[in-house]
């Protein structure tokens, strides 16, 4: 079955992204397809490569990057939500005249249409948020 996942909260602050990750991993292990993970609202904060969590804690961002690599997942970060919160890739930084960028490997920035599309193309859309 095809699952799409929406994540509305940032890493560590809310358990939403933990629950979504463990759900996605379980779905993949059972042979389901995860067609897209869409990061919206504060969920875009999961996509920064600048986090340095305590050594004895999980690394939420790296965990997503690794899952994406292992299963060719499409991790999409909403451009509008990302702009409000200071998440950008190299292209976007150039376009906005910013001197730095912070997107982690495996994430891509795109439009809100990708969420609606995921809803159309998947069998189920599950929202994780606050």
């Amino acid at each position: 079955m095809k699952f799409a996942i929406m994540i509305n909260e940032g890493p560590y602050t809310h358990q939403a992204t933990d629950s979504a990750y463990l759900f996605a991993r379980a779905a993949l292990a059972k042979g389901h397809e995860v067609t897209r993970v869409f990061f919206y609202h504060d969920g875009v904060n999961n996509a920064t490569r600048l986090t340095v969590p305590p050594a004895d804690d999980r690394h939420i961002v790296n965990r997503w990057s690794e899952l994406a690599k292992a299963h060719d997942l499409d991790l999409v970060v909403c451009i509008a939500a990302a702009q409000r919160r200071g998440l950008m890739d190299e292209n976007e930084a150039k376009r906005q005249g910013k001197d730095a960028n912070n997107i982690a490997p495996g994430f891509r920035i795109s439009g809100l249409g990708q969420l609606v599309e995921a809803g159309i193309q998947s069998d189920r859309l599950v929202v994780f948020g606050d």
Binding site: M6, N8, Y40, H41, I79, A80, A81, R84, E92, I109, S110, G111, L112, G113, Q114, L115, V116, E117, G119, I120, Q121, L125, V127, G129
Partner: protein, 130 residues
């Protein structure tokens, strides 16, 4: 970054419901939720909006955000009709608990009982909440 997808999904039309349960301004969910709703109009799906709990406050007339220096987005609800988004459902019990009635709202809506709202939700293909 408006790389919108191919709108033609082989004619798939799904029932999408956007569930609004949060008050405006205190948090951004109502505003960013509305941004998804507007995008969804481009996909020719069967879109409806549900307002219950504090979500009914999104539709209250007379919002004036000058003194809080935030963007007043309440007029956008009036613009939904222009996007052919006309199914706006409001739960009666939520209005009553808040001392509100239909005349306090800035758009025409259909009032549903809690049980009717439950049936409406169950009939959807995709339910997106914020």
């Amino acid at each position: 970054m408006s790389e919108e997808m191919d709108m033609d999904e082989g004619g798939t039309v799904k029932k999408f419901m956007f569930v609004n349960r949060k008050a405006p301004y205190g948090t951004i969910y109502a505003l960013e939720g509305l941004e998804v709703v507007l995008i969804s109009a481009a996909f020719d799906q069967d879109v409806s909006l549900a307002f219950l709990d504090d979500g009914v406050y999104e539709l209250v007339k007379g919002q004036n955000t000058k003194a809080v220096e935030m963007k007043n987005f309440s007029s956008t609800y009036r613009a939904l009709e222009g996007y052919d988004i006309e199914k706006l459902y409001v739960e009666r019990e939520s209005l009553e608990a808040r001392g509100l009635s239909e005349g306090d709202l800035l758009v025409d809506v259909q009032i549903l009982s809690a049980a009717e709202m439950g049936e409406m939700m169950a009939a959807q293909d995709v339910v997106i909440s914020f």
